[in-house]
C-alpha cells in the first residue's frame, strides 16, 4: 500500500513537472512572439518619444527656450519614461525572463490599452472579470458532452445495429466541423429566423434586477453556444466510445460473466466500463484541450464576454500584457484540465496505480 502511494506520488510529481514545463514553454513563446522578439520595444520607444516631444514643444511654459535645451529636455524625459517602463534594458535575456517570471507568478501588470468593464487597467482585474463566463460556458458544455456521449455510447452499444445506432454512425461525420460553425447556423435559425433565443451575449441588456432572473437570463443565453459545442463534438465521441464498448464487450471475460448469470448492469459496470474508461478519458482529455482553443472563435461568434474574446481584442490592439496574461491563464487551465483527467485516469487504471503501465 505504501509502495503504491509512493509510486503514485512519483507519477504525480513527474506529471506536474511536465505540465509546469509545458506552461513555461508556452508562456515564454508568447512573451517572445507578443513582443515580436524585442521589435515591439522600438515601436513603444518611438511612441513615447513622440508623445514626450509633443508635450514639451506644445507646453506654453517652454516657449522661448533655445532649441538645444528643448531637445535635451525631450531626451531627458523620454529616457526617464524608458526607465520607468524598463525599456532601457535589453529585451534578451533579462527583460524577457522578467516577463516570464512575472507572468507565471500571475503578476500580470497593467494593460496598455484595454480596461476592465469596471474601468481598471489591471490585467488581473480584466481577466478576473472575464473568467467566470468562460468557465460557465466551458464547464457546462464539457460536462454535458461527457455525460451525454457516455450515456448514448453505452445505450447504443447495447442496441448494436439498431436504427438509432445507424443514425448515429451516419451523423458521426458532422463532427468534422467545429462548434462555432454550427453556432452561426443556430444563430441564423433560432435568433434571426425564429426569434426565440438571443443571438449572443451573456445576459439580456439591461441586466435583470433580481439574482434569479439574471441566472435564468444567463441560462437562456447558454443554450445556443452549448448546443453548438455539443453538435460539433457529440456524435463523433458517441461513435468512438460506442466502438470501444463493443470491442470490450466481446472479450471472453464478459462472455464468462454473462454465463455466470450476472445482471447486465453489473457486467456493464464492472467488466465493460472499467477497462474502457482509461482510453475514453484520454480521448476526452484531448477533445477538451482542442475545445479550450476553439473557445476563442466560439466566444467571438456568440459575443460571449469571456477570456477568448479578451484575447482576441488584446491581439487586435497589440496589448502585450493582456495577451501574455490570457496565455498564462489558458496555460494553467489547460494544465489543470490535463492534470485532473490524468488523476482520474490514475485512479481508474490500476496498472497506472501500481506502476506497471508506465
Amino acid at each position: 500500500m505504501r509502495e503504491n502511494i509512493a509510486r503514485m506520488g512519483r507519477y504525480t510529481l513527474i506529471r506536474v513537472v511536465t505540465l509546469v514545463l509545458a506552461v513555461i514553454v508556452a508562456v515564454y513563446l508568447t512573451v517572445i512572439i507578443a513582443n515580436m522578439g524585442g521589435e515591439m520595444d522600438k515601436v513603444k520607444k518611438s511612441q513615447i518619444q513622440f508623445n514626450v516631444a509633443l508635450e514639451v514643444y506644445m507646453n506654453e511654459a517652454n516657449r522661448g527656450l533655445p532649441a538645444s535645451v528643448l531637445k535635451e529636455l525631450v531626451k531627458e524625459r523620454a529616457e526617464a519614461e524608458f526607465r520607468r517602463l524598463g525599456l532601457d534594458q535589453p529585451f534578451f535575456p533579462r527583460r524577457s525572463f522578467r516577463y516570464l517570471t512575472n507572468a507565471l507568478s500571475l503578476q500580470l501588470g497593467r494593460a496598455e490599452f484595454m480596461t476592465s468593464d469596471a474601468g481598471s487597467r489591471q490585467v488581473r482585474l480584466i481577466l478576473v472579470e472575464r473568467l467566470p463566463s468562460t468557465l460557465i460556458l466551458f464547464a457546462t458544455a464539457q460536462l454535458l458532452l461527457f455525460l451525454l456521449a457516455l450515456f448514448f455510447a453505452l445505450f447504443l452499444s447495447r442496441r448494436y445495429g439498431s436504427f438509432l445506432d445507424r443514425v448515429t454512425i451516419a451523423l458521426a461525420p458532422s463532427s468534422a466541423a467545429p462548434g462555432w460553425f454550427y453556432g452561426i447556423f443556430l444563430i441564423l435559425i433560432f435568433a434571426f429566423a425564429l426569434r426565440v433565443l438571443p443571438d449572443g451575449g451573456l445576459m439580456a441588456a439591461p441586466p435583470p434586477p433580481t439574482m434569479l432572473a439574471r441566472a435564468l437570463s444567463i441560462l437562456e443565453h447558454l443554450i445556443l453556444p452549448v448546443t453548438a459545442i455539443l453538435i460539433g463534438a457529440l456524435f463523433a465521441s458517441i461513435y468512438a466510445w460506442r466502438t470501444f464498448f463493443l470491442i470490450y464487450s466481446s472479450e471472453d471475460y464478459v462472455e464468462l460473466a454473462k454465463a455466470k448469470g450476472l445482471s447486465s448492469q453489473a457486467i456493464e459496470r464492472r467488466y465493460i466500463l472499467r477497462p474502457t474508461m482509461p482510453p475514453i478519458i484520454t480521448s476526452f482529455m484531448l477533445l477538451a484541450i482542442t475545445m479550450w482553443m476553439g473557445q476563442i472563435v466560439l466566444e467571438y461568434v456568440f459575443k460571449w464576454p469571456g477570456i477568448g474574446q479578451a484575447y482576441y481584442q488584446a491581439v487586435q490592439v497589440g496589448d502585450t500584457p493582456v495577451i501574455i496574461g490570457v496565455i498564462v491563464i489558458y496555460g494553467y487551465l489547460l494544465a489543470a484540465t490535463v492534470f485532473l483527467l490524468d488523476f482520474v485516469y490514475a485512479i481508474l487504471d490500476p496498472r497506472v496505480r501500481v506502476g506497471i503501465g508506465r
Binding site: A22, I33, F181, I247
Partner: protein
C-alpha cells in the same frame, strides 16, 4: 498487394465511402477548373476589386436561383449601353452646336423593384464643363427630369441616381429606384413595360458623349454579390483549391512527420523515445490557436506561413501516443529480429519494415484529420486572419459576419460558403470513417 486488392474490392459494401469519394472528386474537379479558368493572379485581382472591376454589379444581390423559390419574378441586372441598343439623335441648333440626345431604352418585366440605378457617362470636349440633362420616361408616357443641366467634367463620370438627394426630395422622399418604377395605380408594384432614360447635351463638332445605364437587380449571378459588388462565385470557386490544398498539405505534413518520428522513437527506444514523449506532452498543451492568432496579427497572414506553422505545431501532436502504441505492438513480431539478423541498419528497418507495417492504419487517421485543417483555415479567416489577398470561404463568411449579413437577412452570403465548407468536411469524414472500418477489421466485426 493482394491483401490490398481484396480490401479495395470490399469497398463496394460501403456506400458512404463512395459518396465521400464522389464529393472529394467533385471538389478536385472544381479546383482544377478554377485554377485553369481563373488563374491565381486573376483571382487575386478580381477579389481585390477596385475601379472598373465590379462597377456593373449590384450590391448584395441574392443568387439568381432564388428566383425559383419566389412567386414573383425578381429583378435582374439590366445594362443598356448607347453603342448597342441606344438611339442617338443629333439636331443642329446653330452652325457649330448640335443638340445630341442619347436614348437608352430597356424593357422591365419583373415583379420586384431594382436595387439601384447608376448612369455612367463619358464625355470628351473642349470646354471645361458641359451641361447635361437627364430625364426618365415610363411605359405609361410620363416624363420625369432627373437632372437639369448637370455640369459634367471631361472623362468618365457616374451619376448615382439612387443617391441623388434632390431627386429623392422631388419624388416625395421616396427612393428613386422605387419611385421611378412604381405603378401609379398600385404603388407597391413596379410598372412593367418599356422605359427610357434620355441624356441630352449641347455638343460642338468633334465632341463626344456616350452613356450607359445600370439597373441593379435583386438577383445577380449564380452565387450573388457582396457589399463591394464582387461576384461571390469567384470566392466560392477559389475556396475549393485553397481549402483542399491547405487541408491536405497540413494533414500530410503533420501526420506523416508524427508518424515517422513515432516510428523512429519507438524503434530506438530509451532516451530518444522519452524525449519524443516529453516534447509531445508539452506540445499538446501549447495553445495552438492563440499562437496562430498572435503570429497572424504580429507577423504574417499569408496562408502559406500559416500552413507551415500549423504543420510545425502538429509534428509532436497527440497522434504520437496512438502510433507509439501500434509500433510497440508491431515491434514484437519476429521478423524484425530476422531483419536485424541479416544485418539491416536501423533506418532500413524503420523505413522498410516498421513504417509500412502500420501505414494502412494511418490512412483513415489521415483522411479524418483533413477537415480539421480545412476548418482551421476557415476559423482563422473568420477571425479576420485570412490571407489578405486570396478569396477563401472563411473570408467570405468573415465579410458577411462583419457586414451584419445575419441581421440584414443576407443569408445566402453566409450559407453558401458554409455549405461548401461543410460538404468538403463531410466528404473527407465519410471516407475517413469508412476507411477506419475497412482497415481496422476489429471494428468491422462489431
Amino acid at each position: 498487394m493482394e491483401n490490398w486488392l481484396t480490401r479495395l474490392k470490399g469497398l463496394r459494401r460501403y456506400p458512404s465511402l463512395a459518396a465521400g469519394v464522389l464529393i472529394i472528386i467533385l471538389f478536385i474537379g472544381v479546383s482544377l477548373y478554377t485554377v485553369i479558368a481563373i488563374p491565381y493572379s486573376e483571382g487575386i485581382r478580381l477579389w481585390r476589386g477596385g475601379p472598373g472591376v465590379w462597377d456593373e454589379n449590384p450590391k448584395n444581390a441574392q443568387p439568381i436561383w432564388f428566383d425559383l423559390f419566389t412567386r414573383d419574378r425578381l429583378a435582374r441586372t439590366i445594362i443598356v449601353t448607347g453603342e448597342d441598343t441606344g438611339i442617338t439623335r443629333v439636331e443642329p441648333l446653330t452652325d457649330d452646336i448640335n443638340l445630341v440626345e442619347i436614348v437608352l431604352p430597356f424593357k422591365y418585366n419583373y415583379d420586384g423593384f431594382p436595387r439601384e440605378l447608376i448612369l455612367f457617362t463619358t464625355v470628351t470636349f473642349e470646354a471645361s464643363h458641359m451641361p447635361v440633362t437627364v430625364s426618365w420616361r415610363t411605359p405609361d408616357g410620363r416624363s420625369i427630369t432627373l437632372q437639369e443641366d448637370r455640369l459634367l467634367r471631361r472623362g468618365p463620370a457616374s451619376y448615382y441616381i439612387s443617391q441623388d438627394i434632390e431627386l429623392i426630395a422631388q419624388l416625395g422622399n421616396r427612393l428613386p429606384h422605387d419611385a421611378l418604377f412604381a405603378d401609379p395605380e398600385e404603388e407597391d408594384r413596379p410598372l412593367r413595360g418599356d422605359y427610357e432614360i434620355v441624356v441630352q447635351a449641347e455638343l460642338r463638332e468633334g465632341d463626344e458623349l456616350s452613356a450607359k445605364l445600370m439597373v441593379a437587380g435583386q438577383v445577380h449571378g449564380v452565387a450573388g454579390t457582396d457589399h463591394r459588388r464582387r461576384d461571390l462565385m469567384v470566392a466560392l470557386l477559389w475556396g475549393a483549391p485553397i481549402g483542399l490544398a491547405f487541408g491536405v498539405l497540413a494533414a500530410v505534413g503533420a501526420q506523416l512527420s508524427t508518424f515517422v518520428l513515432a516510428g523512429i522513437g519507438t524503434w530506438f527506444g530509451g532516451k530518444t523515445e522519452r524525449i519524443f514523449q516529453w516534447v509531445t506532452q508539452v506540445n499538446i498543451i501549447l495553445p495552438m490557436l492563440p499562437i496562430l492568432i498572435m503570429i497572424g496579427y504580429f507577423y504574417s497572414r499569408s496562408i502559406w506561413v500559416m500552413l507551415g506553422l500549423v504543420i510545425a505545431l502538429n509534428v509532436f501532436s497527440a497522434s504520437m501516443f496512438t502510433y507509439r502504441a501500434m509500433f510497440l505492438q508491431a515491434k514484437e513480431t519476429p521478423y524484425f529480429e530476422a531483419a536485424q539478423a541479416y544485418g539491416a541498419g536501423n533506418f532500413r528497418i524503420i523505413f522498410r519494415y516498421l513504417l509500412p507495417r502500420i501505414a494502412p492504419t494511418l490512412l483513415p487517421q489521415f483522411v479524418l484529420i483533413v477537415p480539421t485543417f480545412v476548418f482551421l483555415e476557415a476559423t482563422l479567416a473568420v477571425l479576420g486572419l485570412g490571407d489578405p489577398r486570396l478569396p477563401t470561404w472563411g473570408k467570405v463568411m468573415n465579410d458577411a459576419y462583419r457586414a451584419g449579413a445575419l441581421y440584414k437577412g443576407y443569408y445566402y452570403w453566409i450559407a453558401q460558403p458554409a455549405a461548401l465548407l461543410m460538404m468538403m468536411g463531410v466528404g473527407f469524414a465519410l471516407v475517413g470513417f469508412a476507411l477506419d472500418r475497412i482497415f481496422n477489421p476489429r471494428l468491422r466485426t462489431v
